[in-house]
């Protein structure tokens, strides 16, 4: 729903026209605002600072609620990020606020990699927005924007200068997010020390090339107040959710034996300035900078990294589709290669197995032949024996028959003899 910047002076082809009466489109901003009220707003703050520096308390004080948070231990092995989302409402405006706190920042012995989880988190949010934007069926209007809009960097109130951890971290983050440095626990610094401290910090940031968020000066209505505030950076803040009675009012304050530090007293600390700049005046600009500057930079780098270009080597504009097609071809070729490899391996294995099986078969066949021969031999032997036995049997039966005959002959012969004797 982008509308182009309507130039103050007519650009070519567009002539300005004066209206003869009241048309009514001056209600357009109201229509836009009403739509936004229905949709609700989204704001994500990232708080980076050492454990115990007062990040959660400041958030509570800023938004006047009690976000459930607990004290973290000082013994975290690595820096982690904890994000919590809340739905706030003030009059008719609904705000979905996400507060991301770093856990264990500055606690490790070796702090070289401390910034990495933070950078990764911010990149992850950009990545998921980019994914949603590149989808075919996308729903950008209902998308819960989780990109970090503002980063409050808590500087410990040493009174001297920035720590090297601070410089390194801020340098890594300045092109990814709007950094607003704040001096935490400012009630430990005296006024003169604070002034020197602020100057030192700003000069260190400038000399190290860290680009912190500058409040915008292009809109006349807020340019003046923004310029003043730009001069007060970094804001020295004190957070407190406890109330102390001062005079006849109850105010948010911290009570010491020597006095009461009032959070909302501009003479005591810059809390009110921070709240005004962060929420009342520049919230929309923070969101816009995140979207048009930091996110676009991320998107550009990411797409170029993936190999997409707007113009090819001959400086002809290459459409994204052509690049996708080229990539797709590459990818398919790669796939094909892998498939061929796998197929070859498979064929190889099959061959081996076949050879194995063939060997086994041959072996079995050999044994079978052997057994068969054995069996045939035995059978032949048995046959031989059987034949001999039958021979024996037949010769025996012949002899028996002969013997019987003889016996029968001898009997008749004896009988005849007897008869002969009798005669």
């Amino acid at each position: 729903m982008a509308s182009s910047d309507v130039a103050r002076h007519p650009d070519k082809g567009v002539r300005p026209l004066s209206l003869a009466g009241h048309v009514g489109f001056d209600s357009l901003p109201d229509q836009l605002v009403n739509k936004s009220i229905c949709q609700g707003f989204c704001f994500n703050i990232l708080c980076i600072g050492e454990t115990g520096i007062g990040k959660s308390t400041l958030m509570d004080t800023l938004f006047n609620t009690n976000f459930e948070n607990f004290e973290s231990s000082h013994f975290e092995p690595q820096v982690k990020l904890r994000a919590q989302t809340y739905d706030l409402q003030e009059s008719n405006v609904r705000l979905r606020l996400t507060v991301v706190n770093t856990v264990g920042f500055g606690d490790q012995m070796n702090k070289q990699e401390s910034y990495q989880p933070v950078v990764d988190y911010i990149d992850r949010q950009f990545e998921s927005y980019l994914q949603e934007e590149l989808k075919i069926k996308r729903s950008l209007h209902n998308y819960h924007d989780s990109r970090v809009h503002a980063c409050l960097y808590f500087i410990s109130p040493s009174g001297h200068s920035l720590k090297s951890l601070d410089l390194v971290t801020m340098k890594k983050l300045d092109s990814k997010v709007n950094i607003i440095p704040v001096i935490a626990k400012a009630d430990t610094i005296s006024k003169s020390e604070l002034h020197k401290f602020k100057i030192k910090i700003m000069s260190e940031l400038v000399s190290n090339g860290v680009q912190i968020y500058q409040f915008p000066l292009d809109d006349e209505t807020v340019a003046k107040v923004n310029t003043t505030m730009n001069g007060h950076l970094p804001f020295a803040v004190v957070g407190s959710t406890e109330e102390v009675s001062v005079g006849n009012k109850m105010v948010k304050a911290r009570q010491y034996p020597w006095g009461v530090v009032q959070v909302e007293n501009e003479n005591h600390c810059d809390f009110v300035k921070l709240r005004e700049m962060l929420i009342c005046v520049n919230m929309e600009d923070l969101r816009e900078q995140t979207h048009t500057r930091h996110y676009e930079l991320y998107r550009r780098c990411k797409l170029e990294e993936m190999g997409f270009k707007d113009t090819d080597p001959e400086c002809k504009p290459v459409s994204l589709q052509q690049t996708y097609e080229a990539k797709r071809q590459e990818f398919l070729v790669e796939l094909q290669k892998r498939e061929d490899e796998m197929r070859q391996m498979f064929v190889q294995r099959v061959k081996e197995k076949e050879a194995e099986l063939k060997d086994a078969e041959r072996e079995l066949q050999g044994r079978f032949e052997q057994l068969k021969r054995l069996h045939a031999d035995e059978k032949a032997a048995l046959e031989e024996k059987k034949r001999m036995f039958e021979d024996d049997q037949s010769s025996f039966s012949k002899r028996r028959a002969a013997a019987q005959l003889l016996q029968a002959q001898s009997l008749t012969a004896n009988g005849k003899k007897d008869k002969d004797r009798k005669k």
């Binding site: 729903m1 182009s4 489109f25 229509q31 739509k35 609620t65 003030e90 009110v272 797709r328």
Partner: protein, 342 residues
Amino acid sequence: MSEAVVPDALVSPAVGSMYGEKAGGPTVDFSYVGIDAILEQMRRKAMKQGFELNIMVVGQSGLGKSTLMNTLFKSKVSRKSVLATAQEKIPKTIEIKSISHDIEEKGVRMKLTVIDTPGFGDQINNENCWQPIMKFINDQYEAYLQEEININRKKRIPDSRVHCCIYFIPPTGHCLRPLDVEFMRRLSKVVNIVPVIAKADTLTLEERDFFKKKIREELRANGIDVYPQKEFDEDAEDRMINEKIREMIPFAVVGSDQEYQVNGRRLLGRKTKWGTIEVENIAHCEFAYLRDLLIRTHMQNIKDITSSIHYEMYRVRRLNENNTAVAHANGIPEHHLAAHEM
């Protein structure tokens, strides 16, 4: 505490009151966080950027399209096509002419583009007369899409997409003609169509009501969804407001850019022998309703439906057809991840 530019000084109920009342005391001043100041910030940003609106008018020659545009925006946004010679009178094909103007009212600047379609419905054979128009609308979507998928893209993508198409129905008094039905059927799928009955001063009130009822029936019978579309109603309140509008479309309008004295006031109207038709009088014609719908109440909604529904549908179609044909834009999500894995 220094107040930012906040519209009303009403102290809003404490944010903390979500969790229950704070214990006694006049703490109301200090519970104000300032979240609602974002409305003012948005308003300022919108005023600085300016707005854009692209309206297309479609209808046969002589139905009063240019006059209506001039009446709507109270200035000469369209030049009436009074052509010199007879040869030029009938264009051979439908032309698409787009003229832009910068207008301003009470600090709100708007770039208004009126897209005229001379020659529509004027030929003897009007088959496919919607094609050049469809092509134009799709070309605008295409230009926006190309800019959007660029790697180095502009901060504000220039929006030339047609937000609203006003279709002029000739006041026959009977029913819609096949040309009307065909055109509206095809185009209601790609753009918001607002049908109006042109030159409504030729119809009496009864004829007008009958005509409107007939038109609504025919639209329903043909499945034509004109603005405000039923399926895009967001909540009950929206639906109620839009139902009232749906009962009134198509608006019977009369256009005029000349002022006459009526009852001591100077009003826009058409003077005839039997009386003066006041354009902005709702007893005479429904111009005021059309103006309120288009400009005063639903302009943002029209633009939103164009960008979040019609444009997205075009984008899906376009990216999918590249999928099956040559380029493979669908592969981006998995492709994106696959590129990482590889």
